[in-house]
Structure formats: C-alpha cells, structure tokens
C-alpha cells in the first residue's frame, strides 16, 4: 500500500505565544488534497511544516513517507509574491530546476517544457516584472512542477486572479493529477476545492475539523426523499422508526441509519404516499465546514 501523501501526527506549532496549529492528526492519501480554512486557519503553517521550512513545536509529519527535511521530490508554490521581477521567466524556472538537482541542460529543457505547459511558451524570455498577476501565478506554478515532483504544495494558487485566470489555474491543477503528481491545494474558496480535489482537509483556528474523501463528505449520511403527497404522515412514521428527519415542504432529508431504505419503503406504503424522487442528498463542503468530524454531517440547509 502506498504511503500517505501527508501523515500528520499530533502536530502542534506555536509562533511565539500564538498557537497556529493545535494537536492536528490525519492521513491524506496521494491524489488531489484540498486544504480548506479561513485566513489564519493554519493552512500555510501546515504547508511550511510539511516542507521543513518551520519546525513543529511538537508532533511529527511525514511527506510521501519521508521526513519533511528531505524535500527531494516536492514542489512548492507560495501564497505570497515570490518571484524575482528582474529575471526572465525561463532563467528563473531553470534555476529552480537546478536547485532540485537537475543538470543545467536538462533544467533549461524542462523549464521550456513546463512554461509551455502553463501557457507561457511565447513569453518565457520576458522579464517577470513585466507579467500580469495571472502570468506571474503561472510562473510560480511552473517552478513548482519543473523538477517533476511527486507532491506539490500550492498555497492559494488562485489568489488575486480574475475569473478567467482562476478557471485556467484550476484547469492546470486538475491536469496535474493526470500527470501522476499529487497536489496539496490550499485555499479558502470552497468551490475551488469541490471542483478540483478528491480529498479534503478542513482546518479552523489551527484545529482539524475533518479529513476525508470529498465524495464521502458531500453525500454520506443524508437521503433526500421527495413525495407527491402525505409528507406529514410519512415524516411521523419515519420518526416513529427512529429517523432524524428535516422537512422542507414535500421534501424530506433523512439522516442515514441501518435499514433506512426499508424504513422509507414501509413508511411510504403505510401512508399511501407517492414517491417523486429518492436519492443520496449532497451536503456541500461549505455546509460541512461548520460541523466537526466527530459529529454527523449536517442536514442540507442547516448551515449556521
């Protein structure tokens, strides 16, 4: 079995007297991992700890089964502006490839290929200072993947981009998975994660809210039942069978339990109701964000 992309065990980090991460533990498998949280949630700190740029106050972290200090096959796209504006894109990306150990000739070739991939083929010999924000973000992405990392950390890659640039960046991130590169994608924009990732880690105020497959987070535990009629009677019968039901007109959201479908079948038959729709209901990531992982996911529409 492949090592987790990230294995975090009781990780705590303090900036002086401020605790930025508190006793965080999770395993995230290789793939596209979304790291979600509001500003100050500890996303960037977790990334810097994963890269060995910061030392944990306590606890441990493994990246692709190795110590963070190894950094042999990881890439990093920082959130802040981190580009030499007085250098040409090709020179900068070549240099970052060399810093990953690539010989000069290979580094220059890879830089050209990667800049082509991110859509900067024509512009690669221009000074970075002359680039737009979107182009600069692309240079940052290019340097993060130029050395063919196994895992790349993208810290707020869509920050400051216009809608078109954001779409384009999300497209590139989705493609990285196709190349066999695992991605840890940090953002506070939840819809970006929903559209890009297959695993999600939710952080809030330095604590872990949840670490689970996005699919599981979005659907598990809630069944949506739309009836033609008799919804009140069906609700009563379901509740009598111990179900947690939320009613919105003729639509019932029922928290899953053993034998739920038998209970629904019996209740509907007993009430003589007609079913219009029966499906697994999707809980949005945004709704799930507000519920700790130790609690069941919320019923739809129950965002605080």
């Amino acid at each position: 079995m492949a090592a987790p992309a990230l294995r975090v065990l009781q990780l705590t980090h303090d900036y002086g007297s401020v605790r930025s991460l508190a006793d965080v533990s999770f395993d995230a498998p290789p793939g596209k991992i979304g790291l979600v949280g509001a500003n100050g949630a500890g996303k960037s700190t977790l990334i810097k700890l994963s890269l060995g740029l910061l030392d944990p106050t306590s606890g441990s972290i493994e990246v692709m089964g190795a110590d963070p200090g190894a950094r042999t096959r990881v890439g990093y796209m920082p959130e802040a502006s981190a580009l030499p504006l007085d250098q040409k894109a090709a020179d900068f990306v070549t240099y970052t490839a060399q810093l990953a150990g690539l010989p000069s000739r290979d580094a220059r070739r890879r830089a050209s290929e990667t800049l082509y991939l991110v859509g900067l083929d024509e512009e690669r010999f221009r000074f970075i200072g002359d680039f737009s924000t979107g182009m600069q973000q692309r240079v940052k992405l290019a340097q993060a993947i130029v050395h063919d990392p196994q895992l790349v950390f993208l810290d707020e890659p869509t920050a400051g981009l216009d809608p078109e640039g954001r779409e384009s960046m999300l497209g590139l991130i989705r493609r990285l998975g196709d190349f066999g590169t695992s991605v840890v994608f940090s953002t506070h924009i939840i819809t970006d994660i929903e559209r890009t990732c297959d695993w999600v880690v939710l952080l809030d105020g330095g604590t872990l809210l949840r670490s689970s497959p996005l699919e599981e987070l979005g659907s598990h535990g809630v069944v949506r039942l739309e009836l033609h009629d008799h919804s009140e009677e069906v609700t009563r019968l379901l509740r009598a069978r111990g179900a947690d039901v939320k009613v919105e007109g003729d639509v019932l959201h029922i928290r899953s339990f053993d034998e739920i479908y038998s209970a629904i079948q019996s209740s509907v038959a007993q009430a003589g109701a007609g079913i219009h729709l029966l499906e697994e209901a999707n809980v949005t990531l945004e709704e799930a964000f507000f519920v700790p992982s130790s609690e069941p996911p919320p019923l739809p529409g129950s965002r605080p």
């Binding site: 740029l53 580009l83 690539l102 010989p103 000074f127 190349f179």
Partner: protein, 293 residues
C-alpha cells in the same frame, strides 16, 4: 512512409534523468550568485555599478602596469609599487565591490520572497548560506588576487635579475598575498554579509557597511590619538585597519602607523579580532536566517 497522421501532444513529460547531489545544487547557487552580482541576464541598470567598479580597478591596474612595461626604463628602476602597497592603492574599490556584492547575494532572495522556494528544494539554510559565502569568496579572491598576480608577474618581468630568479626569491610574497587577501575577505565579507542579512534593503545594507567602516575609522583615530591609555581598547574597533596591520605583518613591512598599532596592540590581536568579528557575524546571520522564511 506512414499513411497515418500522428498528433504529438507535448503536454507533460515525467523527468527520469539525473538528479545531482547537494554539492551540485550549492554550485548552482554560487553561479547564480555571480550572475546576481554582475547583473548577468538582468536589466542593463543592474550591470552599471558592479562593472563600473571592475572597470575602475582595471584602469588603475593598467595605469600602473602599462607605463612600467613600455617606458619603465625612463621612469627608473622598478617603477611599479610593491605588492603590499597595492592593497592600499586599490583598498577602497574592493570595499565598494563588497558593498554591492553582499547585498546582491542575500537581500533580493529575502525581499522578493524567493527564499521560501529555494529552501523548499533539497538544500537547507546552512548549505544555502554557505553557497552564498562561497560565491562572495570566489568573487573577492578574484578582485584581490587577479591584480596582484598581474602586478607580481610584471615585477618579475621587469626585474633585472630575471623572471624566474624573481619568482624564486619572492615565493614568500605569494604566500603573503594569499594570506592577506584571505584576511581582507574574512573581515569585509563578515561585515558586508552581516548587514546584507539584517538590513531589509540592498542600498541600506551597502550604506550601513561602508558607513560602519568610515565612522569606526574616524572615531577610533581621534580617540586613540588623543589618549592611548585608558581608551586603547577602542583601537580594536578600527575594523578596516586590522587587515592592513596583518598585511604589514605578513609582508614584514611597515607602511603606516595604523590605529591598532598606535593603541599598542600586537598584530596577532588584530588577527584574533578579525576572527571574533567573523564569528559574531556568522552567529548573527544564522540567528536571522533560522527565523526565515
């Protein structure tokens, strides 16, 4: 010839080539350091100052050597300065060069935020800093030793006793040149890199380094000359004069009365002071970089 068209998607190719060791990565940082300092592959304005200083040094050297080569016999026997003197003749220019080079090596990586990217690669802070010191070392050895080598060769060529005889008789001078250049490097690189590591902007870092040398010289000269008794320890703060004292010691000459000498310190005290400055500077730089990025 195939009868089918083929669409070639360049897309993304995994890299399966060689990945070199940490020492290669450090060398890449050294080479990038040369480019940064000389403004190579940068805009023209970044090239002006470093190449200007190199140009001035070349002109001074040419002004000394070329007349001696062509009209030396009319200027009298051996019109060239000795190697020990030449350290004083060009002294300001290498200091100016360090004032440009040390901040160019350290400040942009911090200020532009690229340090975080560089340190996400398989090198650590110590290796990164060591490579930067290495880049400055190579540059400054070139700045101090290349003119000395040309001067020494010229002196040997113009010597009445013959080229090889001069070489044989003055082999100890070569060692003194090398030793002096090392001491100059340790003192000036320590101060230059200290300010480059702790001051946020290149211009301020350069100004702080040059200003410290100038103010320390002025203050210690006046204080020590007024009273060589109770205030003699202040002579240790004449930073820029310690390498000169050591230079005289290595060459076994006395070119001037330098402040540490006037204050009554032996040359070894100057050598120890340079070592102490280097150690303090290294600790301060390390403390600063441990907190980054």
């Amino acid at each position: 010839m195939t009868d089918r068209a083929i669409i070639v998607d360049r897309a993304y190719q995994p890299y399966e080539g060689e990945r070199r060791s940490t020492s290669w990565i450090m060398w890449a940082i050294v080479v990038d350091g040369f480019r940064k300092v000389f403004g190579i592959r940068r805009k023209f304005t970044r090239k002006l100052l470093p190449w200007g200083v190199i140009g001035m040094m070349s002109m001074i050297l040419a002004g000394v050597v070329i007349p001696a080569w062509f009209i030396g016999d009319q200027l009298g026997d051996l019109p060239l300065p000795e190697n020990a003197e030449y350290f004083d003749i060009i002294s300001l220019l290498p200091e100016l060069f360090i004032a440009l080079a040390a901040p160019a090596l350290l400040v942009p990586d911090r200020r532009q935020g690229t340090l975080a990217i560089y340190l996400s690669r398989p090198i650590n802070r110590a290796q990164y800093l060591l490579a930067k010191v290495g880049a400055l070392f190579v540059l400054m050895m070139f700045v101090w030793l290349a003119p000395q080598a040309i001067l020494f060769t010229s002196l040997a060529s113009l010597d009445g006793g013959g080229f090889f005889a001069y070489f044989a008789d003055n082999a100890n001078v070569l060692l003194a040149i090398l030793g002096t250049a090392l001491v100059y490097f340790v003192l000036h690189a320590s101060l230059g890199l200290f300010f480059a590591a702790t001051v946020p902007r290149s211009g301020f870092a350069a100004g702080s380094y040059l200003g410290t040398l100038l103010i320390a010289n002025l203050l210690t000269s006046s204080i020590v000359e007024d009273d060589t008794g109770g205030e003699r320890w202040l002579g240790l703060f004449a930073f820029e004069q310690h390498p000169r004292v050591i230079r005289d010691w290595f060459f076994d000459v006395q070119t001037q009365d330098y402040v540490p000498t006037v204050a009554g310190f032996e040359p070894w005290v100057s050598l120890a002071t340079v070592g102490a400055i280097a150690a303090i500077s290294a600790i301060a730089i390390w403390v600063q970089y441990r907190r980054l990025p």
